[in-house]
C-alpha cells in the first residue's frame, strides 16, 4: 500500500549523422542520391538566403530580420518530410521551411521589408502566415488538425516554435488539447538554446524539452537538430503516426542559433564566443557535406556550384522584390474584412 511507483517514463534521443559525417546505417532514411542532393541543395539555399537577407538589412534594404543560420537541418529536414496535403504553422524563423516547400523567396523578402503582401501564401501551399506572438500559433495549429480530422482529410499539421515558446500558456493549452483528442499534429521545437538573451536553463528547469510531452500523454523525442537525417526520420515517423490516428508527437530538435536573435540584437552581450565556436563546428551543412563526400556524391566544386546557383536564385528574388511597387494606402483596407463597415469604407476613401 505505502509508496508505490505509479508510472515510469523515458525520453529518447535520436541522432543518425555525426559531426564527422558518419551516419548510422540502420537508422539512415532510405533516400536516393537525388533526394540526398535535394536535401543538401535546400540547406544551401536556406543558408544563402539568410546570409543575403542579413546583408540587405545592414544596407537598409530590409527591415529587422531573424537569421536562421545553424538551424537549416531542423528546417529543411522536417519540411522535406511533408506532403502537399499537410499544413504548416510557422513561427517567424522558418524561412528554411518556406524555401524548401517552394514559398517564393521574393515574398519572404517582401515580408521582411514590412510589406504584408509577402504573407499571402500561394494557393497551392498550406502555410499559415508567420506568427510573431510567440506560441500563439500552437492552438491554431491544433484547431487545423481538428478540422483535418473532422473532414477526414488525409493531411497532418506541423507547427514550429522555439524553446522560448515552451514557456507560454498557449504551448500548454495547445499540447494538452491535441493530446485529449489525439489530433494529427506534429509539434516541432527548434530548441536553439536561446530566447533572445535567455538561455535554456533560464527558460525551464527541465533537463530536456522533449519530456514536456509526458504531461500531455503523448510521445516526446529529442533529436539532434543539426542532423538532417534524424530530423527527417523523426518527422516522417511522427507524420505517419498522425495520419494513422495515433495522435500527436513532440519533436525537440536540439540545435543552436549561430547568429544574433535578429539584426537588431547583439548576442555578444549575453553569450560567449567559445559557445558560438563550439556550435559552429557542429554546423549542419558541414556534416552533410562530409557525408556526401564520403559517398562520392560531392566535391569542393559541387559546393561552390550549389552556392553559386543558390546565390543567383536569391539575387533574382532580391531584384524582383525591389522592383515591386510600394503598397498603396488602400492595402490597409482591402483584405481585412470580406466587406468593410461604413466607417471603414469612408476612411478608405480618405474621409
Amino acid at each position: 500500500m505505502p509508496e508505490e511507483i505509479l508510472a515510469s517514463f523515458q525520453v529518447r534521443r535520436l541522432s543518425i549523422l555525426d559531426e564527422n559525417g558518419h551516419a548510422d546505417p540502420e537508422l539512415l532514411p532510405g533516400l536516393s542520391d537525388d533526394e540526398l542532393l535535394r536535401l543538401y541543395l535546400a540547406m544551401v539555399l536556406a543558408r544563402t538566403f539568410d546570409e543575403r537577407a542579413v546583408a540587405l538589412q545592414r544596407e537598409g534594404r530590409l527591415g529587422t530580420y531573424p537569421p536562421i543560420m545553424g538551424q537549416e537541418a531542423a528546417q529543411v529536414g522536417s519540411a522535406l518530410a511533408l506532403t502537399p496535403a499537410d499544413w504548416v504553422f510557422p513561427s517567424f524563423r522558418e524561412m528554411g521551411v518556406h524555401l524548401t516547400l517552394g514559398y517564393p523567396a521574393v515574398q519572404l523578402l517582401q515580408y521582411w521589408t514590412g510589406d504584408e503582401r509577402g504573407q499571402k501564401t500561394p494557393d497551392h501551399l498550406n502555410i499559415f502566415p508567420f506568427c510573431v506572438a510567440v506560441a500563439s500559433q500552437i492552438p491554431q495549429a491544433v484547431g487545423a488538425a481538428f478540422a483535418l480530422k473532422n473532414r477526414r482529410d488525409p493531411g497532418a499539421v506541423v507547427v514550429y516554435f522555439g524553446d522560448g515558446a515552451t514557456s507560454k500558456g498557449d504551448f500548454h493549452e495547445g499540447f494538452n488539447m491535441a493530446g485529449v483528442f489525439r489530433l494529427p499534429v506534429v509539434f516541432i521545437c527548434q530548441n536553439n538554446q536561446w530566447a533572445i538573451s535567455v538561455p535554456l536553463k533560464g527558460q525551464t528547469a527541465a533537463q530536456t524539452l522533449a519530456q514536456k510531452a509526458i504531461g500531455y500523454g503523448f510521445e516526446g523525442i529529442q533529436v539532434d537538430g543539426n542532423d538532417v537525417f534524424a530530423v527527417y526520420r523523426a518527422t516522417q515517423q511522427a507524420l505517419e503516426k498522425a495520419r494513422a490516428g495515433v495522435g500527436p508527437t513532440f519533436i525537440e530538435c536540439l540545435t543552436y542559433r549561430m547568429a544574433d536573435h535578429t539584426t537588431a540584437d547583439d548576442a555578444a552581450r549575453y553569450r560567449s564566443p567559445e559557445e558560438v565556436a563550439l556550435w559552429r563546428a557542429r554546423d549542419p551543412i558541414l556534416r552533410l557535406e562530409r557525408f556526401l563526400a564520403a559517398r562520392s556524391l560531392f566535391g569542393e566544386a559541387d559546393a561552390a556550384q550549389a552556392r553559386e546557383a543558390a546565390g543567383q536564385a536569391v539575387d533574382a528574388a532580391v531584384g524582383a522584390m525591389e522592383a515591386l511597387p510600394a503598397p498603396g494606402r488602400e492595402e490597409m483596407f482591402d483584405t481585412m474584412l470580406a466587406a468593410l463597415g461604413p466607417r471603414q469604407d469612408g476612411q478608405r476613401k480618405g474621409r
Binding site: D123, P129, G143, A147, D170, M177, R343
Partner: protein
Amino acid sequence: MAQLNMVQAINQALAEEMARDERVVLLGEDIGRDGGVFRVTEGLFERFGAERVIDTPLSESAIVGAAIGMAACGLRPVAEIQFMGFTYSGFEQLVAHAARLRARSRGRFSCPLVLRTPYGGGIKAPELHEESSEALFCQSPGLKVVVPSGPYTAKGLLVAALRDPDPVLFLEPTRLYRMLREEVPEGEYTVELGRARLARAGTQVTVLAWGSMLERALKAVANYDAEVIDLLTLNPFDAETVLGSVMKTGRVVIVHEAAKTAGFGAELAATIAEEAILHLRAPVLRVAAPDVPVPLARLMDHYLPSIEQVRAALDEVLRY
C-alpha cells in the same frame, strides 16, 4: 410559430444551422453532454455527436485558438466561452489573431468563427460571471460585435453571424436568457449584422441601448416621447440610424451596463459630437455603471443602471 425564450431561440439557430451546414461545429466547456451551463446547447451533442459538439478541456485560449485554425481550414466553428469574464484569457487569440488573420494573410486565409459568450449582470453569480466589457472588443477592426436583445433578434443575428465570412463575437445577455419570450419563426431567417433596430419611435429624445439594458430602457421611457434604438451590432455600429434619430430629436441618452469610462457609450457620444453636434439641444448623457469593478450579487442593484437613473437622465436632457 412558437413562443421561445432566448436560450431556446439560440439553441434552435444552432441546431438548424448545424443541420444545414455540416461545417458548423461547436466547441467549449461543458457544452456537450451537459448541454452548457445555461443549457443553450442542450440536445445538440445527442443529435450531432461528439465530433460536432466538442467538450474541450478548460482552456479558453486554446478554445479560441483552435477555433481560428478550424475556421481557416474550412470549418465554421462556434466557440463558447462559459462566461464573458473568461474571454480575457483568450483575449490575445481573439484580438491579435482571429480579428487579423484575413489581413495578415492578405486574404489567403479567413476566419469565419463565432464566439458566443453569456454577458452582463444581474444573475447573482460569482465574480467574473457578470462582465459587460463589450467595448474592449469594439477596438478590433476585424471583429464584429453583436448583442441581441431578445429571442427573435438572438436567432436571426446568430444565423447571420454563422454565415458571416469573418469573426463575430456574439454576446448573450444572461439576464434575458429566460426573462423574455417572443414569437420566433422556425426555420431560416436572419437579422442583418451592422443594422440597428428602431425599438420604439418618438420625437423628443433618442435613447440608445443594447442587450439587457434595452429592456430596462423600454420600461423607463413608458411615459416619455422617446425614440429607442436597439443597437444590435456594436462593431460596426449603425451610425446612420443613430445619427438620423439624433438629428430629429436633438437629445440623446445612452444606456449601458458597463462602467462609464471608455465604455461603448463613449464611442456613440463621440460620433454624435462629431457628426451631429449642430443638431444637439442638450448634453449627451450616458447612464452607465460607476467606475468600479463589477461587484457581486449584493451590490449589483447599485451597480447596474436603474430605470430611475434613465428617467433622471431623460428629465435632464428634456430640460433643454
